[in-house]
Symmetry: C2
Subunit: 646 residues, 2 copies
């Protein structure tokens, strides 16, 4: 027998060994969602096992980190013996976009980080000899001399903004100061002397903080990092204000053709980041100039726009960025609301469509340091992917189009409140249940909802492998409007929805093309180095979209390769995590440069095999079912089941 205690409600129940946690929760009348009724398909009944003996049958697409953190799919996890403590997440919490609100620590990264031995920013207390007629050394040289004598630091650099404050600061502090120095700045592989970031009176509370930013096309996320503890002490996120000038990178590049268009996009990028900096500063009682360093990861277009670099050549064949490595920058130069001399590290890109966000992903995934053959995937408008390991890295970007972001789909939308983000279709009634972002009345379908819906329609037999809806099916949910068949996932009025929300065969065709482009990318990467998808030892999924992706559902539609679910790991916001690692870990900075320079970029539009692979992938899940054994088996079972039941 086991005694299960559920937090925070405090309910306790005795159950026999082998009882599923979901059943136990239901017995306690706890509000644990389970639209698939315990089949382990929807993955929504997540709980956290705080302590006690349990047995997991499936982890339904959770990342290793999540599993290690105790998260479990309640319907697939069974009680052992003795006391078991289970945390049930508050439903409201779960609905809020978890944009980086997780508190990251360097120990959570699969890489070594030398922040303790080799901090990027360090504080030094100094008692400076006051000047006299006999010793008229300048303020700066006096400070430097004291650093040499008291801390062995012989050289020091400083920029104008800090020098402007230096004289008054030293005198105000009566020559007893604490200085914050950037310890590890380099140019062309050589480390430069430490750089003065701030002078504090010694009696004053001093901070040593930095900010890591994921500058995404849609969302911008910032982590406030304490260099002394290595912890992310707060995070914030917002939509990229550039959305006002276009949803995706292509429309924004086009926007730069307007008069002052580029300036406006640059300003909006800066304002987006500054909003987060302001929020983090205010919430944590931090002054602007206490932010001593920043690291920013974004795709190549985002980086170009942030720096005000002309992006047009990025979208015109042959797709050339102005730079892949950003020059040395400081916050004041860019207009970021931080210490004006804070170094701003922009993560380097590899090509026009493999940007700093992917370099960040390769870093934070640790794939560049492992011997395992790894496939890293970041799915957005462009499915960007990297195959390789510590020896080599091969990347490409598949122009998937905006379908998975809700673009070009009749009722598609971004993952904002009211977006249907997961769907379950009962295979008997063909009736859907779904969840919307923030539980708001349904207004459309976002990316993860589209994948779910497509997969559900397919496995329930309502959709055939060519992407045609079964007009013969005994459900009013399938209908024809304007000559185009569609499935009604939500009827006007249901839960407050203002209109019917549907998925049309045209939408399905867009989605299939998108998934085909991505899948073809996997195939081309593997083919070009002579390996098979089955040889890939781990498949790491990063990016904001990856956070909401259900592997099994994605495999069902042929978006992801049909590999054992244990191979898949969701890493969360790998772009933000990579920026965090770059910010905090001095050793990683060299890795970042190495990764970007060693990563090969495969231009798919110049690759003949890509079009062949793409064409083969324009079916659900694929022309060649032998590559999708689990889907094949499921379909066979369903057919049998239907026959048995029919």
């Amino acid at each position: 027998m086991a005694t299960i205690t559920f937090s925070p409600s405090g309910e306790t129940i005795e159950v026999p060994r082998g009882t599923s946690l979901l059943d136990a929760a239901i017995m306690c009348e706890l509000d644990v969602p389970a639209p698939c009724a315990g089949q382990g398909r929807c993955g929504r009944c997540r709980v956290r096992v705080a302590s006690g003996e349990i047995e997991r049958r499936s982890n339904a697409g959770m990342s290793t980190a999540e599993v290690q953190g105790g998260w479990a799919v309640a319907c697939q996890t069974y009680a052992g013996a003795g006391a078991i403590e289970i945390d049930v997440p508050e439903r409201r919490e779960e609905k809020v976009r978890p944009h980086g609100h997780a508190i990251a620590e360097p120990e959570s990264l699969p890489i070594t980080c030398d922040y303790l031995q080799n901090p990027a920013v360090k504080l030094f207390e100094l008692e400076i000899e006051p000047p006299s007629l006999e010793d008229q050394t300048s303020d700066f040289d006096r400070l430097r001399r004291a650093l040499g004598r008291q801390h062995g630091i012989e050289e020091l650099r400083a920029e104008l903004p800090q020098l402007k404050r230096l004289g008054p600061a030293l005198r105000h502090a009566n020559w007893k100061v604490t200085v914050a120095l950037e310890m590890r700045d380099w140019v062309y592989g050589s480390y430069l002397p430490p750089r003065l970031l701030r002078v504090y009176p010694t009696a004053f509370p001093q901070a040593s903080l930095g900010v890591a930013v994921d500058l995404g096309t849609t969302s911008v996320v910032a982590y406030l990092v304490d260099f002394t503890t290595g912890r992310v002490i707060d995070s914030a996120s917002t939509y990229n204000k550039q959305i006002a000038c276009g949803d995706d990178v292509i429309s924004r590049i086009i926007y730069t053709k307007r008069k002052h268009g580029l300036e406006r996009l640059q300003t909006l990028a800066l304002e987006s980041i500054n909003e987060l900096l302001g929020e983090l500063q205010q919430r944590n009682g931090v002054e602007e100039r206490e932010i001593h360093e920043l690291a920013i990861a974004g795709n190549t277009t985002m980086t170009h726009l942030l720096l005000g670099l002309e992006p047009r050549a990025l979208r015109e064949e042959p797709y050339i960025p102005t730079i892949s490595i950003a020059p040395k920058l400081i916050a004041g130069e860019l207009g970021l609301n931080a210490n004006p001399v804070a170094r701003v590290q922009i993560l380097p890109s590899v090509g026009a469509y493999v940007g700093g966000d992917i370099t960040a992903g390769v870093i934070s995934s640790g794939m560049y340091a492992t011997e395992k053959l790894t496939l890293f995937i970041d799915i957005s408008t462009n499915g960007e992917m990297v195959l390789g390991n510590k020896e080599w890295l091969l990347s490409c970007a598949c122009s998937a189009g905006p379908a998975f972001e809700g673009g070009g789909v009749r009722d598609g939308m971004r993952a904002s409140p009211g977006a249907i983000e997961d769907v379950f279709i009962d295979d008997t009634s063909w009736e859907p249940t779904f969840r919307t972002v923030d539980d708001a009345p349904a207004a459309g379908i976002c990316g993860s909802g589209l994948i779910d819906l497509l997969g559900e329609l397919f496995v329930t037999g309502l959709l055939d492998k060519s992407g045609h809806l079964d007009l013969e099916a005994a459900t009013a949910r399938i209908r024809v409007r304007g000559g185009v068949p569609e499935y009604v996932v939500c009827r006007a009025g249901d839960g407050g929805a203002e209109k019917d929300i549907v998925l049309t065969e045209s939408d399905i065709s867009s989605l299939v093309r998108a998934k085909a482009a991505i899948y073809a990318g996997f195939e081309v990467l593997c083919t070009s180095v002579g390996v098979d998808l089955a040889d890939v030892e781990q498949i790491l999924i990063g990016g904001a979209f990856g956070q909401y992706l259900n592997v099994e559902k994605a495999i069902r539609i042929g978006l992801l390769p049909d590999q054992p679910v244990e191979k898949f790991h969701f890493l969360g916001n790998t772009s933000a995590l990579g920026a965090f690692a770059t910010l905090l870990c001095v050793n990683v900075r060299q890795d970042v440069a190495d990764v970007a320079s060693k990563m090969t970029y495969l231009e798919l539009s110049a690759d003949n095999t890509f079009m062949d692979e793409y064409t083969s992938a324009l079916f659900l899940p694929h022309t060649d079912l032998s590559g999708f054994p689990s889907v094949h088996a499921a379909l066979a079972k369903r057919t049998t089941g239907n026959r048995n039941g029919g």
Copy 2:
């Protein structure tokens, strides 16, 4: 016999050998000024010997460069035999302030300059391989690759302003470009890779220009320099706009206590330089961004104000600058109207009152590279001076006060139109003749006029060695007003003067204190290293004021040591020349840093012997006449002459 031809008038005359050029000119009725009637005292009868045999008896305080350039004092220069060609300067020309309008060349500097072998800025033609789907290297890396393949330059740096233009510039030029690179940028003694300054279409006329600036308290002078020829191709000057906030450095430092006072002074300094940049650009058809580098020399206060550094500690004991070496700067960061990434080199200072202008003087005088024991002098509000040679350099600044700049003197004024700039007093009639700047109606007396007047009053016996006017002298020019004796140098109405212009005994006292402070400086420098003023092998006079200083007259009042006139050399605007050398000659840049770090600064307010020397110098020319043998002899002769004539 000699045949003298005068240009531009074309007059020719035959004269016997030994005829003075002045006499020959007078015979031709040419307009050569000679207020001292050929005694070689006023030095105003300058002509240029274009060719022919002549004999010089005195050069009356001209610089070696002037003498080498053929300039001669007509009354002290005698005809030899054969054809002699003499250029008589147009009088009007002579009256225009020659602020740096001389066209300098590196060969005119007494130092080696490696601008030909080792240019600071260099142009490279490139044919860049256009990008393709097979070669998607970024624009910047592509440029760098071409530089490596075509010119052996493997690394390249660039800042944001140039990167913003890069993509369009390369495409516009169809990948055939000329790039301007800064070749010699360093940090802490290590040279950094070349830095991108500009990308031109190859077909476009390209320039490689820099500007050297002397940022003086009163005047600002700029030289436009061509890096390829090493020549100063134009120059411009203006008053420092900061004059609106105070005439001297002390009043400007006090001005910074006002709200936004420092910002205003910084803006005015920038506006002063920008005015000159604009003038040079317009006059020479040069674009703003073709100015690829700048070097700026100024005193420590000017440098602090230009950079916006708090200057208050400069005027409060113990007189501490914020910095002596400026950080690495680019024009865009400061707000200078040049190529935004143009490196701005600020000449380093040694102390609060020995600034970059003095470092520039030590450089352009070549004293740091000679074995000769040299005294370098720059007289302004502070008499700044450096004693030494290639082995050692000792500097000090004497707080002379503004008397020689016309400050604290009843009718004192700056050397602007109407300022009496030289004076001759007839030793029989005691009537003065004088010249004003621009021949405008007399409005006051400027520094050189004050020295002249003081000396003339003294040598004509109207003033005694204690600074008292001879009230018994038979001239109405000496009178007493409000109990204070004064000499009337110009009466209201004379030549359009609106008022009497006088020199009072109070004024004389100020001037004597000023000259005493400066002379005491010489003595203290020599004493502190155990040499005698007579051991000094050359006395080099720099600074704007030095250009108008007559050595013999300055010796007469004890402002300069009584050394043979051959030891004195006027170097012109040594601050501007030092900036020019720093800008053009890469080898000199290291010298500049070495000079500033090796120069010792003697703080006179902490030196007891200074006050003793100062007290001894409060007489005309000095308490100890043995140090002034030539003045002593002249006085003895006058006394005898007067007695003979009386």
